[in-house]
Symmetry: C2
Subunit: 373 residues, 2 copies
């Protein structure tokens, strides 16, 4: 039996059942417009849909100028394509026969690209695409400092690019050069320095590609923490920021170049919860634990309630500590939480409740929730 | 579009698409039988279904003697009742009109009970149940040391019991006295000492209930960490252990009374993952990050692969470090992970893949996945 949404369109926000994943539509729309305005000519935005997993939000981003979206998994891409998205890059390696076949077939339904960092994987990908009778754009992922996936910059990357270019079924599309760990370096100077190194890696690799007679149309990367540095780099031409639409508590701990807390984007995503136990002053328990709000990047912040902190999460309970015991919330009070990390929080929910002012305006499905294969 | 299951019945385990939630059916069945054999006459098992969220597993537990299951949320209970479960205790407070109405209606479809720790909540519950024309068994939750939910033992608990007994729609069923934080105290002596205090709280409250002329048929509590102490207590008669069916890595860090690692139950739940990037010796990347395996209680353990550790999780990636570089896994290798914490891991998946030996034997839905309201 499918789960019912936690609200109905037209309801007051006070009537939302909890825990619920709530979008402040005004802030969310401003975030999309702000990012669109920041993208200069010659650079494209391919917003990362692992943040939102929603075809509706992808459509709003594309209406504001994004050329498409990124996904991390083939199943995530499939869910979004089935729900209407037309242009998806799987910004990740795809390994295993089931996944490769599904990716190759998906390329018959939408414009699809993928990343590789291994020669054998290119052979398997090429065979899957040839067998499906489709074509696929392929980027070589280089490790620009995160030391997670990606081949070493320079010759190893060029060797893979040549393998791709030599395959009839595949098209070499460029370099994936995303620096994941730099996104949360707290100062702008640290983030800028990390991207400088990444740019040098890209330039070295591009020179060798040119010498090898290989075009490199796309240089892709960037997230909500570093995008301004990739824009300024002169080498990146496709940005993959995702979290900017929602702006979570962890990104809000970054500082801008002026050493002030980062301010370009507003918190637009909340988990609305209810006080379910309030048995003594200074202490209350919420109905939102870590099955409702992800805690991998810290506990959520309590939104606009002075002296109130979320200090403990179990599966289905969140503990609040309140500095002024007279200010202890009463049973049934709604508490709005700013998630520490939006992406895994969204993945815990089936529905977005869109609110404007004090009214529920929209209910959108989280189309690719749980799409982990 | 619903997500497809990651395997088909009859397939080889090597063909499972990943990340997948896999049950070793032999170990799982032994765990159910072991717990059933441990329960003495006069004590009942009401297995906690927040661990598995599955009507099929609830049915297997009840076939082995459990009288029903616990749930933490009304929606979780609803999903399981719709899928065939006949006896559910919501071992938690239920606050808010939507939830109270749904709980009251659910009591017309199955045997349902619930916990309270607040007088106003009893009034609201009573009104909802009267309006639905059903009846509900209600337990008073006392705080026996976890300092989360629950009213103070003694007179405050008796006052709530009296309110319940005075309501025409409600029936006072007993005390909920679960010590959550004691479950993971590492030594058996620490866990035993915590439960001794809980037992004293229960006894004090029961004496006052008797003086007030109130029967206390149920004393409920216990988890996989402490159940032997509640069994020995002479006061608990309903056990709520859940994790024993799967046995996660965090519970396996407990020690038994002989100071040996706890051994009654076997690891029966795994997240099977695939090496998706292997670009340098001693390092590999899995396709299972914290959207596939919960990390609130630590990283997963790598199962039966010498010198291989899971040392970092992002949304969709898990980093492996391998002590002997010659033993670095190759691209496409399946790596079996023992989750740090079963309950939130299960909640990330739509399907259980049941395996026996090297064959897939069953595919079961996670019926109440995402049932967080």
């Amino acid at each position: 039996m499918p789960l019912h949404p936690p609200a109905r369109i037209g309801q007051s926000v006070d009537d939302i059942d909890t825990p619920a994943l709530v979008i402040d539509l005004d802030a969310f729309e401003r975030n999309i417009a702000t990012m669109a305005a920041l993208i200069p000519d010659g650079i494209r935005l391919r917003a990362h849909a692992k943040t939102h997993k929603s075809a509706k939000i992808a459509a709003l981003q594309m209406a504001a100028g994004a050329i498409g979206v990124c996904c991390q998994k083939v199943s995530e891409a499939s869910q979004l394509v089935e729900a209407g998205v037309t242009n998806v890059m799987v910004s990740n390696q795809v390994v295993g026969q089931h996944k490769l076949s599904r990716l190759a077939e998906l390329a018959g339904k939408a414009t699809v690209s993928v990343c590789v960092d291994d020669a054998e994987n290119i052979t398997a990908l090429s065979a899957a695409v040839a067998s499906a009778g489709t074509t696929l754009q392929v980027l070589v992922e280089i490790d620009v400092g995160s030391h997670r996936c990606g081949v070493a910059p320079g010759e190893p990357a060029v060797a893979l690019a040549r393998l791709i270019a030599d395959s009839d079924a595949l098209e070499f599309a460029g370099l994936q050069a995303y620096h994941g760990s730099a996104q949360h370096f707290r100062t702008d100077a640290e983030r800028g320095s990390a991207i400088e190194y990444a740019v040098a890696d890209v330039e070295k690799t591009r020179r060798l590609l040119t010498q090898a007679g290989l075009d490199c149309p796309i240089v892709a990367g960037a997230g909500t923490g570093t995008y301004s540095h990739e824009i300024a780099s002169g080498v990146y031409n496709e940005l993959q920021a995702g979290s900017y639409v929602f702006m979570d508590a962890d990104y809000a701990r970054n500082f801008d170049g002026d050493d002030e807390p980062t301010s370009a984007f507003e918190h637009a995503l909340f988990v609305v919860s209810t006080v379910m136990s309030s048995t003594r002053p200074g202490h209350a328990v919420l109905d939102a634990g870590h099955k409702s709000v992800a805690i991998d990047s810290g506990y959520p912040n309590v939104w606009k309630r002075e002296g109130t902190r979320y200090t403990g999460a179990s599966d289905e309970h969140g503990v609040l500590e309140i500095d002024d015991a007279h200010n202890t919330p009463s049973l049934g009070e709604h508490i709005w939480l700013v998630p520490g990390h939006c992406d895994p929080t969204v993945n815990l929910h089936n529905w977005y409740v869109g609110v404007r002012g004090d009214k529920v305006e929209s209910i959108w499905p989280v189309d690719a929730r749980g799409a982990i294969y």
